[in-house]
């Protein structure tokens, strides 16, 4: 979907020009590449989904809500029923209008008990989806959820026709499929029925998989692609000095924390967790791991949430205090194994830096480096000390994904009764001020006792040729303006 937000400032000036082919190099992907709107896994999957399909609403470049297939999404006073109104005149790629039946079918597909899609796990509160008018659909929940719109604003919840099949991957996105070769590339054409008139500007969009950093950067340097995502941060300065290129650096809420299991020794002792948090030199982390391309973290996530607890004091490295806490816990000379894998650029590097930093406090960190598949394999949720990676999310959806006992990815096995009570109440609280207060208290608990070391937020750094216009910084954490290419044009 196309963002509203600020307008682009790039080399080509004047009004946007139509036409041309935009070739984008995207990190990752492989033979399991898919066009399924509801199971995007890798970056290329996400990039495809973002351009072919649209959910009811989504986050724009500033991480504010933006209505897409829906014109509005409003809660009932008790936040148990949410009503979405479909945008007037919106059509699928084949020209058929979007009907409430399509929306209902979409959610049935996602929630299919035999084959639940990625979005299903965070929609457990959803009882049923009912068409209530020509253009309205009701989402009936089994409990009040005050921020349900946030749950709907996911790229993996794109609206598709009721008769959707992967052989005819149709959505309402700015582009439609022309060709698709798993593991290699996809070619999309302009969707002439797109609801935002005049857009997209380019005729063709080619998304090309790149497994290798080298190959991707080299392809950009040798002008075989127009834009690439995820520039290795260490190369930012070099690429910036190249006149043919532009760097797109976005501040995001993406984080790459260390996870400590709070229910197993040695991290079941809160003093050990606190000591570990005091060991990290966060500035050094950002400098060494991210080459400075990041912002300081304070062991709290969701920095763009209005309820973010920015009043809590910034935690800094304090080795004497860390040693004291460890001694108190009887864990001086602690030895731990840190499980790491290249789950994201910088992950293995961060582990190495942490290993080095821990020495100062007399903590010996052994690195166990796995490949990504093994990392996310059978033992994924049972590592005592590991890492994880999340894109920008607001607080409550993030808690639902990772900080509740029944959350699908509760890596730290976080199960704090006081915290659960606060969060549960907040979820049901429609009043924003009241909710914010509850969330701040919950964050304070995580700040004091949590199992994650959140040392910073990563900037998203991408690069493109100077003749490409319309790419803007994006807070969601997805690269290249959130992979949204409908505002992009070629000078």
């Amino acid at each position: 979907a196309c963002g509203g937000g600020r307008s682009a400032v790039a080399a080509p000036t004047g009004p946007p020009r139509r036409g041309g082919t935009l070739r984008v190099g995207v990190t990752g992907g492989g033979s399991s590449d898919t066009l399924d709107p509801h199971t995007p896994t890798t970056n290329p999957d996400i990039a495809r989904v973002r351009n072919l399909y649209e959910p009811l609403l989504y986050r724009d470049h500033d991480y504010e809500f933006e209505m897409l297939v829906a014109e509005s999404v409003t809660p009932s006073p008790d936040a148990r029923v949410w009503t979405a109104t479909i945008r007037e005149g919106i059509r699928f790629h084949d020209g058929r209008p979007v009907t409430p039946a399509d929306v209902v079918a979409t959610f049935r597909r996602i929630m299919d008990p035999d084959d639940p899609k990625s979005g299903a796990s965070s929609l457990t509160m959803l009882d049923e989806v009912v068409a209530t008018g020509d253009r309205t659909v009701e989402f009936r929940l089994n409990e009040p959820v005050a921020v349900f719109d946030d749950y709907l604003a996911q790229y993996s919840l794109g609206i598709v026709p009721a008769d959707f099949s992967l052989d005819r991957p149709i959505g309402t996105g700015p582009f439609r499929v022309d060709e698709f070769t798993p593991g290699l590339q996809s070619v999309f054409l302009r969707n002439d029925h797109y609801w935002r008139s005049g857009r997209p500007y380019v005729d063709r969009l080619v998304l090309i998989n790149f497994g290798e950093d080298d190959a991707r950067v080299n392809a950009l340097l040798s002008s075989q692609v127009d834009a690439i995502d995820q520039v290795p941060v260490a190369l930012v300065d070099v690429l910036r000095s190249d006149e043919r290129l532009r760097i797109l650096s976005s501040e995001t809420g993406t984080w790459l924390p260390f996870t400590m299991r709070v229910d197993r020794p040695p991290f079941d002792d809160v003093r050990v967790r606190q000591a570990m948090r005091l060991i990290v030199d966060r500035e050094q982390m950002i400098n060494q791991v991210l080459s400075g391309q990041g912002r300081l973290g304070n062991d709290l996530y969701s920095p763009f949430d209005p309820a973010y607890a920015s009043d809590l004091p910034q935690r800094r490295r304090n080795i004497p205090e860390a040693r004291r806490l460890l001694a108190e816990a009887g864990k001086s000379g602690l030895e731990v194994e840190l499980v790491t894998a290249p789950i994201q650029a910088g992950a293995v590097e961060a582990a190495q830096v942490f290993q080095q930093q821990a020495r100062a406090a007399g903590v010996t960190v052994r690195l166990k480096r796995l490949d990504t598949t093994t990392f996310f394999g059978e033992n994924y949720l049972s590592w005592d000390f590991a890492q994880t990676f999340w894109y920008t999310r607001n607080y409550l959806p993030q808690v639902a994904s990772g900080s509740l006992p029944d959350a699908p990815f509760n890596e730290t096995h976080w199960n704090d009764p006081e915290f659960l009570d606060l969060v549960g109440r907040a979820r049901r609280t429609v009043d924003e001020a009241q909710r914010t207060e509850l969330l701040r208290q919950a964050q304070r608990i995580e700040y004091e006792r949590g199992g994650m070391i959140i040392w910073g937020f990563l900037n998203q750094v991408d690069a493109y040729q100077v003749y490409v216009a319309g790419l803007v910084p994006d807070r969601t954490g997805l690269p290249l303006s959130g992979y949204s290419f409908c505002d992009v044009w070629l000078g």
């Binding site: 260490a234 060494q288 080095q356 480096r369 598949t373």
Partner: protein
Amino acid sequence: MSLFRRALALPQAKVGLMLTAAVVLLAVFGPWLGPLLTGHDPMEFAAKPFRPDGAAGTDGLGRDVLSRFLSGGATLLLYAVLATALGVVLGTALGMLAGYSGGRLDSVIMRGNDVLLSFPQLVFALLAIAMLGPQGWLLVLVIGITHAPRVARVARQATVAVRDNDYIRAAQMYAMPRRTILLREVLPNITGPLMVELGLRLTYSIGYVASLSFLGLGIQPPAADWGLMINENRIALVVQPWGVLLPVLAIAVLTVGTNLITDSLASAASRREKEVLS
């Protein structure tokens, strides 16, 4: 052994020995030398990543490249030597047994050999490492096993050439046990090709360990290791070439050195054979 003396008489062997010795010395004493020269521990953060600070700049995590380079050869060498030793010992044993026994045992061993040979090396490494994780002993094992069938071929061929010599028959006539015949009569007479193979395998091992590290399957971070350094610093080749160039140079010099020695061993061995024949 006279083979060595003969080989050493060749100028290329001297050059090879010098190159190899230089790199080995560097690898062995580098870990002590590094901090003295640069003032930085190989693990310590000296500056931001890929900055031209220090003699050879910093690496992807801002550690001092020179210091890491100096301490990065030991593991590579150790693994390469161990893997070579394993492969040559295993392969020689199998090859000699096959070549000397002939018949059914020979066929069984050599077919097994063929199977191993046709199994792609890299897939083997990939699978083994995916199975058990990248560990030092596994690297040594994987590379050693990869070498074994190749060495076995050579050892078998050499053994077959020696087997029908009358001195082997004489030993049989004195009812010498098979093991003794293999060790005392056969082995000393196939040292020529085996030494060549040893050198060749060592050269391959070095490249192989480096290649596996390059694919992220070899020696693991944060170890300072030449192969790994190339992998880690490759993206910044244009900005901070030293992180790649120093280890590449060292590996190249080392392999060129071992290759030269191997070469001279080969020509010394073939010359010896010619002399024996004439």
